[in-house]
């Protein structure tokens, strides 16, 4: 006898024959104990992310989108439910160096040059010097930072610093990229530019990306799947599978298909965000 959940899983699997499951989250909850009583940061999250997906988490502040990403990265521990990353626990996945994490701030070490910053995870992994050099060169080229190897972080603009931090995450050569509002602090022109670069990168490398944002155009432009979250308690309100072509440029933002998805995201955000209290 198959349970309903198993049948559903089976159907899911059948529908996603091309990509294997990367992240599987079931009934996951996370409650922070604070002086003002428990805070339900995440409540009953069910989510599946497949190989090659570009998934955006969008929602207002306090909806738990960053917390969810941190749970995947083993930076926070869930209080209930289950989660697997590459079929193992987040901790094991982290120890296997399954993912690269890009923080909201570039978080470059100020005493290291850009090349040395990109080398940081490679040194920790214990790679040979020649392998390090090769990966530094390749990934700095990927984010268009060739020629800036010897510069210190403060000598670079905010956008370049964030690109360096992406190169650092890519240098680990993970199949999974976790990005927490990486372009949140940048102006719109730089952000558009980096969004395009990120899409090209994703198309080139076929990585799986989990991307936190609170910008609707950014989420719709980048994603194959958009997860709308709402706060108090943090939960999933809507999951939108985008039917936009994978190969896209910024002009797509003017098309009716794009606007339709953006509209649905906005509706979700509005409905999920209760203004009653």
């Amino acid at each position: 006898m198959l349970t309903a959940a198993e049948i559903e899983d089976g159907l899911d699997d059948a529908m996603n024959e091309q990509g294997k499951r990367v992240i599987d989250i079931e009934n996951l909850s996370l409650t922070f104990q604070t002086n003002d009583g428990p805070v339900h940061a995440l409540s009953d999250i069910d989510l599946k992310i497949d190989e090659g997906d570009f998934v955006s988490f969008i929602g207002p502040s306090g909806c738990g989108k960053t917390t969810l990403l941190r749970v995947i990265a083993d930076l926070e521990q869930p209080t209930a439910g289950s989660i697997t990353v590459n079929d193992v626990s987040p901790q094991e996945a982290r120890l296997n160096r399954a993912y690269g994490y890009v923080f909201q701030a570039a978080a470059l070490y100020p005493w290291r040059t850009i090349a040395k910053n990109v080398a940081l995870p490679l040194e920790i992994m214990g790679l040979s010097k020649s392998e390090q050099q090769e990966r530094i060169a390749r990934n700095m080229d990927l984010v268009n930072l060739t020629g800036f190897e010897k510069k210190f972080p403060w000598q670079l603009s905010g956008g370049m610093q964030q690109r360096a931090s992406i190169a650092r995450a890519l240098a680990v050569e993970p199949d999974l990229l976790l990005m927490d509002e990486p372009f949140g602090a940048l102006d719109e022109i730089v952000r558009d530019h980096l969004n395009e670069q990120l899409l090209q990168l994703w198309a080139k490398t076929n990585k799986t990306v989990a991307f936190v944002t609170h910008s609707i155009p950014e989420a719709v432009f980048l994603s194959t799947k958009i997860v709308v979250l709402c706060p108090r308690p943090g939960r999933i309100y809507d999951v939108i599978e985008s039917d936009l072509p994978r190969d896209r440029n910024l002009d797509i933002r003017e098309t009716p298909e794009f606007l339709k998805i953006a509209h649905r995201v906005r509706d979700g955000l509005r409905a999920g965000h209760s203004y009653e209290d």
């Binding site: 930076l75 982290r94 994490y101 923080f103 978080a107 005493w111 920790i124 680990v172």
Partner: protein
């Protein structure tokens, strides 16, 4: 063309130019201090000078001679700046370094125990800080002792250290150096604990996502972060070390060293000798701290932390 029109009017007063740097203001302050010092020297030495005149039976000394005499006493209550300057010159430049009266000879002796004590103190401070940062047990057990060690007056404990160490056969440089250590490990411990704990959460999280070990996190994140803190506390530690070395020389009845000069000076009422030793100590402390400052500047520049 517009550049010249918009440029601020140039000042032609040499005074403005002099006072815009640091040299001018410093010179002014030094001059004021010297002036106050001369007035104070005349006032403090006046009573003794009048006694001298009375005993000599002179009661019509002109004021200028009176002032000149108060500034030329052999054992004044407060020696005049030029008397100290002459003494400093005579005991440094004029005397051979090997002479027992050479201030450079005495400074070298104090300097060697200062440096040894500073080296031990800094190493001890760094080790304690590493332990405290990485272990809650060590923090709870060590920190109260570290703090209470500094509440004991050093003048009270210094003779004890010298006597105890002397009894177990440790004499010479080391006991004095250990008093320097006692004073200098504290600022380094406190500064390094602060420094090793200062990395931002996001930087620690980054290390966690790389599954870095504690040792890797220490070498690649905590230690570089603590470097500016280390230099600041080393400056304080160096000055404290010198004080410790001088205090260490007092109870030993040491025959050489700046502390010994101070002690001998006070036995025989040689105020000029005391003041010149004090100035030498201040000069020494200033130079040592400046040296650390220079190392700090070079290191931070190399690390790309100073722009």
């Amino acid at each position: 063309m517009t550049d010249t029109a918009l440029a601020p009017p140039k000042s032609f007063s040499p005074f403005t130019g002099l006072m815009s740097g640091t040299v001018g203001p410093v010179i002014v302050v030094v001059c004021v201090i010297i002036a106050i010092w001369y007035v104070a020297a005349v006032a403090l030495n006046a009573a003794f000078q009048q006694d001298t005149y009375e005993r000599a039976g002179r009661d019509d000394v002109p004021f200028t001679e009176f002032v000149a005499d108060t500034l030329a006493q052999e054992r004044p209550k407060l020696p005049a700046p030029h008397q100290v300057a002459v003494e400093l010159w005579n005991t440094t430049v004029e005397k051979k370094i090997t002479s027992k009266r050479s201030l450079i000879h005495h400074s070298t002796i104090t300097l060697s125990s200062t440096l040894l004590g500073f080296f031990i103190g800094t190493s001890l401070g760094i080790l304690l800080a590493i332990g405290i940062v990485h272990s809650g047990v060590l923090e709870k057990s060590l920190m109260p002792w570290v703090i209470s060690s500094q509440t004991i007056p050093i003048l009270a404990i210094a003779p004890m250290i010298i006597v105890v160490l002397g009894n177990i056969g440790v004499t010479g440089l080391l006991p004095k150096a250990l008093i320097s250590t006692y004073l200098s490990f504290f600022p380094v411990t406190v500064g390094m604990v602060k420094g090793l704990r200062s990395p931002e959460v996001i930087h620690m999280d980054l290390m966690h996502t790389y599954s870095a070990t504690r040792i890797q996190t220490f070498w690649k994140l905590r230690l570089p972060y603590a470097v500016p803190y280390l230099f600041t506390s080393m400056k304080i530690g160096m000055a404290a070390s010198l004080v410790g070395a001088i205090i260490g020389e007092l109870p030993t009845g040491a025959v050489a060293g700046l502390g010994a000069r101070l002690l001998a000076g006070s036995y025989y009422g040689q105020t000029i000798q005391i003041w010149s030793a004090l100035f030498m100590a201040a000069f020494l402390a200033g130079s040592l701290v400046a040296l650390i400052g220079l190392m700090e500047k070079l290191t931070l520049k190399r690390m790309g932390l100073s722009r």
